[in-house]
């Protein structure tokens, strides 16, 4: 008997997929990932979700539903705190209960991370592993292996980012959560469009979390959300080395609306725009804004070159 675990390609998948895939792989559990976001998944998510839910959670519910008959279990983590004095966005607190109450006919596997209250990822994910493998030592070994693979993977991403930053040409930093940036329906069209227009895209993925927390304080002293601290860390460490900044926000994200407001007021000197994505967006409108943003950066560069020549 081989059990399968479904991984919805949404929310934290884009941060932890290496961890999850390696962990279950080491336990001989097959993982099934939902397809890239598409219109049908989004439409189903909109149908299942409360109207005012943010777009990423609507997509999440669509992805969970897409796995309904494809896997024995569907993995949905519940993340509350990853460190003291900070918290994850509230949607990660509720993701498990929201999926359970919104999508009929599914079996969920959940793990709960609440470091502030002493609930850590390792024992929680190991508990999930014990559903499939009675040998506890084997499960713990699988976790440790997966955790180190995850670290290796994120370190490589950071290195790649440095390579992009070292290249010549126009560079734009896109500040947005991984689940927006890498989603086929949300961030991907924007990243692709920038690439096609000869712009190097620097993502706000920043995996040195300790450094991110320190850097984040330079922009915002009080910001409580873990993943937003990482965005601010990226912003602080890359912004002098890019030509423009795009804040990518999904409607109606609370943390991002406050964070972006503060960033737009405090980060001066680099051209920046805020793009708000919703489920009704038109690509034409986005393109026009991106094109004019690129024009604006180019004009600024030309002016700087002329001034420099004088």
């Amino acid at each position: 008997m081989h059990a399968t675990v479904g991984l919805p390609r949404s929310l934290l998948f884009h941060k932890y997929h290496v961890l999850w895939e390696t962990f279950f792989g080491a336990l001989d559990v097959e993982t099934v990932t939902s397809p890239q976001s598409n219109r049908a998944i989004l439409a189903r998510g909109i149908e299942l979700a409360v109207d005012e839910t943010c777009v990423p959670v609507k997509l999440f519910l669509g992805h969970v539903d897409a796995l309904r008959d494809k896997a024995d279990y569907i993995l949905v983590p519940r993340i509350v705190t990853l460190a003291k004095d900070e918290t994850a966005c509230v949607k990660f607190l509720g993701a498990y209960d929201v999926a359970r109450n919104s999508v009929p006919g599914i079996r969920l596997l959940e793990y709960n991370v609440d470091v502030k209250n002493g609930i850590r990822q390792r024992p929680e994910l190991c508990r999930v592993g014990e559903t499939f493998e009675p040998n506890r030592r084997k499960v713990r070994r699988a976790y440790d292996h997966a955790a180190s693979e995850h670290l290796r993977y994120t370190a490589r991403l950071d290195e790649q980012q440095e390579e992009v930053l070292a290249r010549p040409g126009m560079k734009v930093l896109v500040v947005g959560h991984a689940y927006n940036l890498y989603d086929e329906m949300l961030g991907k069209p924007i990243v692709d469009f920038l690439g096609k227009n000869g712009v190097e895209v620097v993502s706000s993925e920043f995996h040195d979390t300790a450094k991110a927390r320190t850097l984040a304080k330079l922009v915002s002293k009080d910001i409580p959300w873990t993943y937003n601290k990482e965005l601010l860390g990226a912003l602080e460490s890359y912004r002098e080395r890019v030509d423009g900044i795009i804040f990518l926000v999904t409607f109606p994200c609370g943390p991002d609306s406050l964070m972006t407001e503060l960033c737009m007021r405090r980060v001066k000197g680099t051209p920046s725009i805020m793009l708000v994505l919703d489920e009704l967006q038109s690509e034409a409108g986005l393109r026009t804004r991106l094109e004019s943003f690129i024009d604006l950066i180019e004009a600024g560069k030309r002016r700087a070159a002329v001034d420099g020549a004088r």
Binding site: E52, L93, G94, D97, S102, P252, L258
Partner: protein
């Protein structure tokens, strides 16, 4: 600790409104020994100026708070207080301060972060008033808490009974007089005396309670629950329709379940949620679901769920509530507030909701029940489709 004092002296302290809690907050602020400038009473303008300078889709309490600050600064205040709390509230202060500075105001701000523990905040207050001692602050805190309890008890009684007054405005008249007296009370005995005297006066008001009266519970996000202006006076509107209104989110209850007792309180709420919640949903979300489930079991006729547009903890709760409403055919009216919410729209929905509840009562077992619940809880039927 996060305090920046204004350049100009003397200090003139102000803080945002929330219901009638400016009464106990004023008592606390008096310990700072400086002039207190209450923001003007909330009007449409408060919301307009607040919304104009706020991020577009930030939740509405932010916009009201900012409107209060701007109107207080216009009145001469120069030291603003922002209390922390769960969820986005904890982050309001820093962003509001940046917005107000960009608008060119000269002011200081005390941002209270990380919960309600007096010990953590005394340092902030001492910078404003060096003569303040822990003992004195503690005494003031206890007094303010007593004042809050008196306020909550009286207002709870008003909520439950004002719908049945024989003479229009009788309850409001006593309530107003009570607020005036409570505002001047500065010792425990006076507060207790005022509370019991006014409770007696309220009980003496003649009422007519019909046999088939409606009992409705109100749950949801704390600010729109406790600031009547922001919820378009929904409790008064219900009273006008002859409803006994129950609400459980009050500052007294929040204080009672804060600090060390918080986790136990959440566990209890989850245990009594009928398995509609297994993990805490954030802020007031768990309480909204659990209280709704408990009220349903207690035979309430329906529940109103209020939240600011986009409030994520309550959106989380709605997933559970919609399923509960569907599975038990229990009527829940969901109301979202943003800067555009219209009073007329609200009144129409309340009329329809109350009519539907009355129909259910008169003709039990009628198919109209299920239909009513469905139309009033849009989306509730969707996941079975």
């Amino acid at each position: 600790m996060s305090t920046q004092l204004p350049a100009s002296r003397p200090f003139k302290v102000s803080f945002p409104h929330m219901g009638n809690y400016s009464i106990p907050v004023r008592l606390l602020a008096e310990q700072l020994e400086c002039e207190i400038v209450l923001p003007p009473k909330m009007t449409r303008r408060t919301l307009e100026v607040g919304a104009r300078h706020s991020p577009e889709f930030v939740c509405i309490p932010f916009k009201y708070n900012l409107g209060n600050y701007i109107e207080a600064l216009e009145k001469g205040a120069n030291l603003l207080i922002q209390a922390g709390g769960g969820c986005r509230f904890g982050y309001y202060g820093e962003v509001q301060e940046a917005i107000l500075r960009d608008l060119g105001y000269d002011f200081g701000m005390v941002r209270l972060l990380g919960g309600w523990k007096l010990r953590d905040h005394i340092g902030d207050f001492k910078r404003v008033n060096p003569r303040l001692t822990m003992l004195r602050a503690l005494k003031a805190y206890k007094l303010a808490l007593r004042q809050t309890q008196a306020l909550d008890r009286i207002e709870d009684y008003v909520r439950r009974n004002a719908g049945f007054e024989v003479q229009d405005g009788a309850f409001e008249e006593v309530h107003e007089a009570f607020l005036g007296e409570l505002d001047t009370a500065r010792d425990m005995r006076t507060m207790a005396e005022i509370e019991s005297r006014y409770l007696g006066e309220l009980e003496a008001i003649p009422t007519e309670r019909p046999d088939d009266l409606l009992r409705i519970g109100i749950v949801g996000e704390l600010y729109v629950l406790m600031e009547p202006f922001s919820n378009l006076f929904v409790e008064k509107e219900l009273a006008k329709r002859g409803v006994e209104v129950h609400r459980f989110v009050t500052v007294s209850n929040m204080v009672e379940h804060s600090g060390r007792k918080h986790t136990a309180h959440l566990d209890e709420l989850i245990a009594k949620s009928g398995d509609y919640v297994r993990y805490h949903l954030g802020a007031d979300g768990t309480e909204s679901v659990s209280m709704t489930y408990q009220l349903m079991q207690q035979g309430f006729d329906g529940v109103l769920h209020l939240k600011p547009f986009g409030c994520m903890p309550e959106v989380n709760a709605m997933a559970s509530l919609q399923r509960l409403s569907r599975e038990h055919t229990f009527p829940i009216l969901f109301i979202s507030y943003d800067a555009q919410t219209s009073e007329t729209g609200l009144k129409t929905r309340l009329d329809a909701f109350c009519d539907m509840l009355r129909m259910r009562k008169q003709r039990p077992g009628d198919a109209a029940m299920a239909d009513g619940a469905e139309t009033l809880a849009p989306g509730a039927e969707r996941s079975t489709a």
